[in-house]
Subunit: 325 residues, 2 copies
């Protein structure tokens, strides 16, 4: 199949977003923001670097790459609207496999009424999928990492480390006898759910810092600390984990650094915490207080508390008994 036929085969026949003026089929796409701010991000996945054909079905490649992008929109408090796809295709990939990649994206995109509005399909030696997403946010309501304030409650959605556990199970680096738990972890790896509805439900709050947990809570907490120039304090006993998680040897490493759970880490004023709990209830998401925010000591840092001991948690997830660097 040549490039034109493939593009035609994936070109949407109808569009969902009323703000779209021109989708696929001209030099560029055109849309109207209508008094909302535009939020955009790009995420790129490469075969044998971010996924292996052996453990990841083409459907899940498409799904996960778009999910990672949508999660970035959720972390800004934005509503997803559009996406564009760049795909580098090696000869050895079949048309059927490529169709499955698009099916994985389509399935997820449909649930957010996102339109595919452009892209590029070229040949190459290694499968590469790069997605650009576009969303809208109410002016002034972008949820920046720099928006944390001293006294804030620190919270996380869902449970942490699940995606990493699912990958370990598939790679047989770990095992678990409970079939239901096995399926849960694998599903969390293959079909992560970005927390869009939850973040949208918080639209009424004046201020809120959000970061999506794509690289692990250790990394994301440090990003908030640095952007806000504050110190974050996390209680290890409060970190939300699945009941079956603690039976894995490396579970703490996975919880702190696992990433790709696409949960949200947030900082919000104490008085707004009840609104966060309510938004979680309304949207069917679990939310857990995991710590708090203070003025920074010498530097903006993240501290981890375990049985009365305080350690510094760096962005790579290493802990340091000596608190100040």
């Amino acid at each position: 199949m040549d490039e034109f036929s493939f593009i035609n085969s994936i070109k949407p026949s109808t569009y969902s977003q009323s703000s779209l003026l021109k989708g696929i089929g001209d030099d560029a796409a055109v849309f109207r923001a209508d008094y909302r701010d535009v939020v955009t991000a790009v995420d790129t996945m490469v075969e044998d670097v971010h996924f292996s054909k052996a453990t990841t079905e083409p459907y899940h490649i498409g799904y996960r790459c778009l999910a990672a992008n949508i999660s970035d929109l959720a972390a800004m408090g934005a509503t997803p609207a559009y996406y564009m796809v760049s795909l580098v295709i090696p000869d050895r990939w079949s048309e059927e496999a490529l169709q499955h990649i698009y099916n994985g994206m389509n399935q997820l995109a449909k649930s957010y009424r996102m339109d595919l509005i452009g892209g590029d399909t070229v040949s190459g030696e290694q499968l590469m999928l790069s997605i650009t997403v576009f969303g809208y946010v109410t002016p002034g309501k972008s949820r920046m990492r720099s928006h944390a304030r001293p006294g804030d409650v620190l919270f996380a959605t869902g449970t942490l480390g699940d995606s990493r556990a699912g990958l370990a199970l598939m790679l047989e680096e770990a095992s678990i006898s409970d079939r239901v738990a096995y399926d849960f972890f694998v599903r969390r790896h293959q079909l992560p759910e970005p927390r869009v509805a939850f973040a949208e439900e918080l639209n009424g709050l004046d201020r809120l810092a959000l970061n999506d947990i794509s690289d692990g809570i250790a990394s994301e907490a440090n990003e908030i600390a640095e952007a806000s120039q504050l110190s974050l304090h996390i209680d290890i006993e409060q970190l939300p984990v699945h009941p079956s998680m603690k039976q894995f040897n490396h579970y703490l490493d996975w919880v702190l650094n696992g990433g790709e759970d696409f949960e949200l880490l947030g900082a919000v004023a104490e008085q707004d915490w009840p609104s966060v709990v309510k938004a979680a209830e309304i949207t069917g998401v679990d939310v857990t207080k995991v710590g708090h925010v203070t003025e920074r000591m010498k530097e903006a840092q993240v501290f981890l508390y375990e049985k009365g001991t305080r350690k510094r948690l760096d962005k790579s997830g290493y802990t340091h008994l000596k608190s100040d660097r």
Copy 2:
């Protein structure tokens, strides 16, 4: 150098666009459209497919990939504002070479006051550069391929086939003794100039169809014919070529199918033709009448006229003596 250091080294220290609310450094970038429509496109280049390290310097890889994207904005009548860069880097590429790729992009971006607002840098086996661009256009003034009308004048900017000639000269598939002409063609290949200012200058016109000549005028003319459901008629003697072009054996093939000149092909009402000429004068661009537009015969087609003979020109650049397919 790790990914973080590299991203820091290319991260802009200041931004030019006043509508930018958040650039690099959060989950996503945020900007405000301010009553303008948003225009966006993505273009992907792969090593050994779109360029070879042997004939293309890293600086020109960056420059050309961004130029191709900006040209898509120009073809919509949009003003460039932002770009995001996804880069897949093989181990064998040096930090210095990567820096040159970014320098090539920066140089061009600066001349349009475009801000780099995001991206992704990952490792892989083959160099891949994918750029997403964003521009603004006055509502209703997007220059669609479907906007041609019967009676329109068809015009092209600049000269055609130059980039392909430049590549042939570098590959020693062709030769030319005139050093000034040699340099002209090579420069047109390495440092093409998107026609942004010219297209912006036409902002006063109510209606105008534009397409950028990225795949050759044969392909672009067919796209306008199909989108507008009209027939386009091109006089081969009127196609603008550089004085030294005709000494190459394959010159006509290059003029029709060369592509990557990033000139513009347009269709405009006869009465607006003087405005096009004036816009070209103001912005220092050559513009040439190359044909006209009529109602379609059986199908939307492109016809090429040479010494009284009419042939059908298909999108691959083949000509057919039998006019109707």
